[in-house]
């Protein structure tokens, strides 16, 4: 495997609150609809907020057909995060023109980002733990084994019969972006010739309760960058990409969807849950992504923001955009896909990169659903309010910022 410099996306698969498949996500992005609704997965009636964006139940037949088409073993017993991941990987392989049998090449790696894994499925057995000394003899240990975050990638690797490198990166809400950035580094260094990269997370009580306890969850829906915003809503789903060298993709006749041009990551070294108010860490991540891509800031035509809709985060991110883009920032289109699908936590960076890839491919900007009122403390002006806008851009950034002050930014370029 020789080192590569130009890395392209040749496959993409998505499971989101819009449904199964990239087409469902594209339709939702264009519509500007918000898929946040009352939680059905568990009883959330006692919570400050009972709103989240859930993935609709799949049609089992169409799902297994999609998996079979690429020779993938689709197993439902491992929990939702794994199921979403498997479905998204199956679609990504199909789009890339690959079959499951191609995955046994030791040069094919898996870079996974996530945070919850099978927590939803493991919550009940964990809660029974202190009810008796013989618990583990009575319980099925496999229900616990899906809870460590590395288990999702292990299930994907098992289903694909992978032989190459497999890595799980868990840096909270920037997990998938960091995984995709890691895949970029693997390819550039010649460690792999092709990488399946992305993330998957499922809604669970733990994260919903946790963000509720921090008073970070919106009562009804997330309104990123809006003066009325009162918090985030959790979403769920998965997105995966097939990444490879541009020349080898062309040699096998694969269609490149976009170029993954750069990746930047920093630690804010400031606070475990709050971003720096001046946005300096976020700005540095964006600058590093552009430097890594060798692309000047003037060429950036759109930013898919982290945009959680929490009062503090959106303000800090807007200041970061101002620092990087100067006077241009005011009119630069900046939107948050979380306004439509909620916050996919560890998978959010992958889902939002999928939205960005669609934007470059089809010439539209994903919207900030529900944006109506300006926040006087946010100097940006173009949030692509309401519904998607037809507009061609050549270069964009996708931001992901996380607990632990972990900031990541990915740069995509149109081919």
């Amino acid at each position: 495997m020789s080192p590569s410099e130009r890395i392209v996306i040749t496959g993409m698969g998505v499971v989101s609150p819009a449904g199964y498949g990239v087409a469902a996500l594209e339709a939702l992005l264009r519509s500007g609809e918000c898929r946040v609704a009352p939680i059905t997965r568990f009883d959330a009636s006692d919570y400050r907020s009972a709103a989240a964006a859930e993935v609709p139940e799949p049609n089992p037949d169409s799902l297994s057909m999609a998996a079979r088409a690429v020779g993938l073993r689709l197993t439902s017993g491992y929990g939702r995060a794994a199921l979403y991941g498997l479905a998204a990987v199956a679609e990504a392989l199909a789009v890339a023109g690959l079959h499951g049998s191609d995955c046994s090449d030791p040069g094919l790696g898996l870079a996974f980002g996530g945070s919850t894994a099978g927590t939803l499925e493991a919550e009940e057995p964990l809660l029974l733990l202190d009810e008796g000394g013989d618990y583990w003899q009575a319980a099925e240990p496999s229900r616990f084994l899906v809870s460590p975050v590395g288990s999702t990638a292990a299930i994907l690797a098992h289903s694909l019969a992978l032989r190459g490198p497999v890595s799980t990166i868990s840096t909270a809400c920037s997990s998938a972006s960091n995984a995709i950035g890691t895949a970029l580094h693997w390819l550039r260094a010649g460690r792999c010739s092709r990488v399946i990269a992305g993330g998957s997370d499922a809604l669970c009580r733990l994260t919903h309760a946790g963000f509720n306890s921090l008073s970070l969850v919106a009562a009804e829906r997330p309104l990123p960058f809006d003066g009325r915003r009162d918090g985030m809503c959790i979403g769920e789903g998965a997105a995966f990409f097939v990444l490879e060298d541009e020349h080898s993709a062309a040699a096998r006749g694969a269609t490149a969807l976009a170029r993954l041009a750069g990746f930047g990551a920093v630690s804010e070294a400031h606070h475990l849950v709050q971003p720096r108010g001046d946005g300096a860490g976020a700005a540095q991540a964006m600058r590093l992504a552009l430097d890594d891509a060798g692309i000047p800031a003037q060429r950036v035509g759109y930013i898919n923001a982290h945009g959680t809709a929490t009062p503090h985060n959106d303000k800090a991110e807007a200041r970061a955009v101002e620092q990087v883009f100067g006077p241009r920032a005011r009119a630069l289109p900046v939107s948050s896909t979380k306004s439509q699908v909620g916050h996919l936590l560890g998978a959010s960076g992958a889902l939002e990169l999928a939205a960005c890839t669609l934007a470059l491919q089809h010439g539209f900007l994903p919207p900030t659903s529900g944006w109506e009122e300006a926040d006087p403390e946010i100097a940006l002006e173009d949030f692509v309010a309401g519904a998607a806008r037809d507009q061609q851009v050549d270069v964009l950034l996708s931001n992901s910022f996380a607990f632990g002050g972990n900031d990541a930014s990915l740069c995509l370029e149109k081919l």
Partner: protein, 365 residues
């Protein structure tokens, strides 16, 4: 392209806190594995006061979970071992941390409180500690580290992955220095579930601990006059199809493939291998694969019998390798074997068919 150097270690181990204490106990052949009232023998950390190692942490320690404290203390020990004591000595360092289970017991306590007291009384102080990168976040804050920070969680190869990622970043010129390692605590949930699921290694006892190493580009190390423990040649990872994504099964093919590639790419002859540290020293398949590639039996570390094993202990074995390569009189095991060549080999096998191979070389400087 720089070959990263290991210039310090930070060890929070059942066999001693800090390099000096650990090396003394290791050299003396001691074991920290002891009987436990509530289960099989295990190696646990003696009580440690994080405040003694982290004087600047102040009230942050009250919010910090035990695993994060372990990671922060091991980081402080690595900084002390390296002589990094200036205000800005760690500003530009990258950080790689490996942990498979993270704060599993803390998660269990959070959920139990949620069940018992309801959502209104869920603990907002503990929730941020439940993300696997909480420890890395605290390190970043306490040590002012603003470089890239990644937390790796791929089961039993996570410790080696974290250090390997740091080495790759130095080699590619993304940063010139990094602290990297891993940590795992021996909690109720882990111990009982692993025993019930038959996920503990076939030989050895359960353990816990944290190990961090400082990796530096040669120019950076030379500029500050750092003493070099070892040269980090790299980490190679791969997967092998196994019967279950949760199965702990060694693949002779995967070990041979990774080891052959590691030797080739790092320009190491099998005859140069001088010590092996594997995650499963009693694993017959693994030992046969190693013997075949090395062409002979290598002196093997017996860490599994003396500090126990845990999913992130690949980082401990990296640190121990660096110490063995820096001091040829330090025995590899309690039997007194010494390394017989300038290259240390670390092999980790993890659940789901995960495999990792790491090579370190004796420093020429």
């Amino acid at each position: 392209m720089s070959r990263p150097l290991v210039t310090s270690v930070g060890l929070l181990s059942p066999l001693g806190v800090g390099r000096r204490a650990f090396v003394g106990n290791w050299r003396a052949g001691h074991s920290a594995v002891a009987a436990r009232d509530d289960g099989d023998p295990a190696a646990t950390l003696a009580a440690f006061k994080a405040r003694d190692f982290l004087p600047g942490a102040g009230s942050m320690l009250r919010r910090m979970d035990r695993l994060s404290r372990m990671i922060c203390v091991a980081t402080a020990l690595a900084c002390e071992d390296a002589g990094l004591d200036g205000d800005d000595a760690t500003d530009d360092l990258a950080l790689g941390v490996g942990t498979d289970l993270g704060t599993l017991d803390e998660t269990w306590r959070f959920l139990s409180r949620l069940r018992d007291k309801g959502p209104a009384l869920a603990n907002p102080m503990s929730f941020p500690n439940l993300v696997p990168n909480a420890g890395a976040g605290y390190v970043g804050i306490l040590f002012g580290m603003k470089g890239p920070s990644q937390t790796f969680c791929q089961h039993e190869i996570c410790g080696e992955e974290a250090v390997g990622w740091a080495a790759d970043g130095i080699r590619a010129g993304r940063f010139s220095g990094a602290l990297a390692g891993g940590a795992e605590e021996l909690g109720v949930v882990r111990l009982q579930a692993m025993q019930a699921a038959n996920c503990l290694p076939p030989l050895g006892s359960a353990g816990e601990g944290a190990a961090m190493v400082l990796l530096e580009a040669p120019e950076r190390a030379a500029a500050r006059g750092a003493s070099v423990l070892a040269e980090y040649l790299g980490t190679w990872t791969g997967c092998a199809p196994v019967r279950s994504p949760f199965a702990m099964a060694t693949s002779e093919e995967a070990v041979s493939r990774l080891l052959s590639r590691a030797l080739l790419e790092s320009d190491v002859e099998p005859s140069e291998l001088g010590v092996v540290m594997s995650s499963s020293p009693g694993d017959v398949v693994l030992n046969e694969a190693l013997r075949r590639v090395a062409g002979r039996e290598l002196p093997a570390a017996d860490h599994h019998l003396r500090v126990g094993v845990h999913p992130a202990d690949g980082s401990f074995r990296v640190a121990l390798s660096a110490l063995l390569l820096a001091d040829s009189t330090l025995p590899v095991n309690a039997g007194g074997d010494l390394r017989c060549g300038p290259v240390a080999l670390i092999v980790s096998v993890g659940r789901g068919g995960m495999h990792a191979v790491t090579l370190l070389r004796e420093s020429s400087s």
